[in-house]
């Protein structure tokens, strides 16, 4: 029986979450899995909270990840990691982009942004992999490559060869952004590998 799993990708509209989930889906498809991915358009496009469910396995029925069962959460934004906590369990891994994007109620001063997101996740026993994806992308000269840094980080935990990911990125990303997106992917992967080395 083939491996199966689920990845919940969440963040803020405009961060490239849908493309990230698309590339991951294609990579899994390329590795021979059945894949279903669910997303919601419309209101989410306007800087609102965005979430995509991705499930893979030999045969996938439901397009939605069941609460309490997500294998991996990829949070493109710190606060959003907490918003979808009910999808996780103690064995879940969290890839956490340490970027903060202030929601309107915080920006207008009526609410406070929690300053202990990482602690809140860790005190629940979750394996957290913090990645400064924005800084990584910026250092590569392409702020929009945040999503590919996180796909790279995610790839460490998926049963898909690196070559398949790189091929998919090559096909899905316009020519002039290919090199930087592949580089972003590799750096994201490296960051998680380094964390794993340190924790050993």
């Amino acid at each position: 029986m083939k491996a199966s799993g689920s990845v919940l990708l969440c963040g803020v509209g405009g961060q490239g979450i849908l493309l990230a989930s698309e590339i991951t889906s294609y990579a899994l498809l390329g590795a021979g899995f059945d894949v279903k991915k669910s997303e919601v358009h419309g209101m989410a496009q306007r800087g609102g909270s965005v979430v995509a469910h991705l499930r893979y396995g030999e045969k996938v029925y439901s397009p939605l990840i069941e609460a309490g069962t997500a294998g991996i959460e990829v949070a493109f934004e710190m606060l959003e990691a907490l918003r979808y906590l009910t999808f996780l369990n103690r064995q879940s891994r969290v890839i956490l982009n340490t970027q903060r994007i202030l929601p309107a109620p915080v920006a207008s001063g009526s609410e406070k942004y929690p300053d202990d997101v990482l602690d809140q996740l860790r005190e629940r026993g979750l394996s957290v992999f913090p990645v400064d994806a924005f800084e990584t992308a910026r250092s590569l000269g392409e702020n929009r490559a945040v999503n590919m840094v996180l796909v790279g980080a995610l790839s460490v935990f998926l049963p898909v060869d690196e070559g398949i990911f790189l091929e998919v990125i090559g096909k899905r990303v316009p020519q002039k952004f290919r090199k930087v997106n592949r580089e972003a992917f590799l750096q994201g992967k490296e960051i998680v590998k380094t964390i794993q080395e340190v924790e050993k």
Partner: protein, 534 residues
Amino acid sequence: MAMKKLNPVGTKDGILLSGNEAVALGAYEAGVKVASAYPGTPSTEILETLCTYEGIYSEWAPNEKVALEVALGACFAGVRALATMKHVGLNVAADPLFTSAYTGVRGGLVIVTADDPEMHSSQNEQDNRNYAFAAKVPMLEPSDPAEAKEFVKIAYTLSEEFDTPVLLRTTTRIAHVKGIVTTGAVIPAAVTPGIEKIPQKFVMLPAHARKRRQELEKRMGILREFAETFPENRIEWGDRKKGFITSGVSYLYVKEAFPGASVLKLGMAYPFPERLITSFASEVEELFIVEELDPFIELHVKAMGVKCRGKEVIPSTGELNSRIVRNAVSGDGQELPFEPVQIPMRPPNLCPGCPHRGIFYAISKLGVFVAGDIGCYTLAALKPLSSMDSCVCMGASIGTAFGMEKALGKDALGKIVAVIGDSTFMHSGITGLIDVVYNRGFTTVVVLDNRTTGMTGHQPNPSTGVTISGDYTTAVDIEALCRGIGVKNVRTVNPHDIPATLKVLKEEVNRQRENALGARRVSSSAAPRSNGSR
């Protein structure tokens, strides 16, 4: 290659498509020639995909009624035609829908309704399976993108074979789910295009309609019989302690929650295969009906005298998922490992540079009741703008403002403003404005013209001068249109100039004449597409 925009990556086993992209592919493979729609989540991407195929005329219509009429006309001319819309759009198109059931078709006619349980991006969560029953039109209900594509093709075959429009219902978790779809052969249409005059079929005056009414009943009888052996109404036998009758995405949740159970999957949501249902029910110990929203299947099964459990355990509101289904049916719920945490909400915002901010800021200074409408600008109801006081359906702003004015008489002067976006005004605002003029109102109507249909993803509309394909066309001149209707004071302001906007607004809301005020500013983030940009 006809598929210009489809995802280039795939394996021999298929390509990853959303339900909407799959419907478009199905329409292409069914040889559809004319497709019309008004954008609406979660249906929009069907036409956005279809317009990239060669050999198909695709268009954004001003509203869903027109879209269905265009598709109906195309099918009268003997080609396969498609109209797509969100669930509430079918309310607008209900008039042609009900009578198209009488006329029947020449070329195949398929109407896609994309429902939105959970109201991810809608003002209600009506269950459009009820339309199939009410209009006496067969409805197919796929469960995932792969089925969506196949069902579109089946729908065209049924439409022509049974001389009927066919409804295809998706929901958000089909429309916006991506799954593996395989491409197939293009099937030929059974009808030759051309003009045929068949008044007893196409002219629904009472004498003809009464005869077609009889035809319609006869047709439904034949379709009921067809449903008994329709391969997409299928039984998957398993453990017979629990049996499930289900359709659409709910089928997937049942398979996930009870992988070993017996399931009767209804690919045709209406009409029902009564003998198949009866025989399935008699073979299982306990029968559950699992469906989102209304007890559509359940009521029918119960009316047949078959004992079953449905809405007494399955929620009637919102989406289902495998966890809800498992807990509801088994009657116990496992606690989740983690409780939700209280964190700040992240509501969607207006786009950077959006001209609506300025106009709503100005309106908020007037202290008036703002009769609002459907679009991005409905976000003005939220903090910090907090300047919308009603929002019901497409185009309702003008009629509701005018109704309030008639209820309050002179006391309403200076106290009510209607706001409506450019695309919504084209959709169904114009007739409301005609009522104001005709019946001597003094309503102030603010047309928020940002030259795009923003909420659904920046589609062009009749006032933008651009078609769905990105070609230039005649732009409806909103100011000239208002003057043509008979509006005496039409003024145009730049809402980024807030003091000037506020001055004009103050003058107009207190003026005891019919008004229409256009707030026009091309938004930098929402500029209409130009030719060749896509």
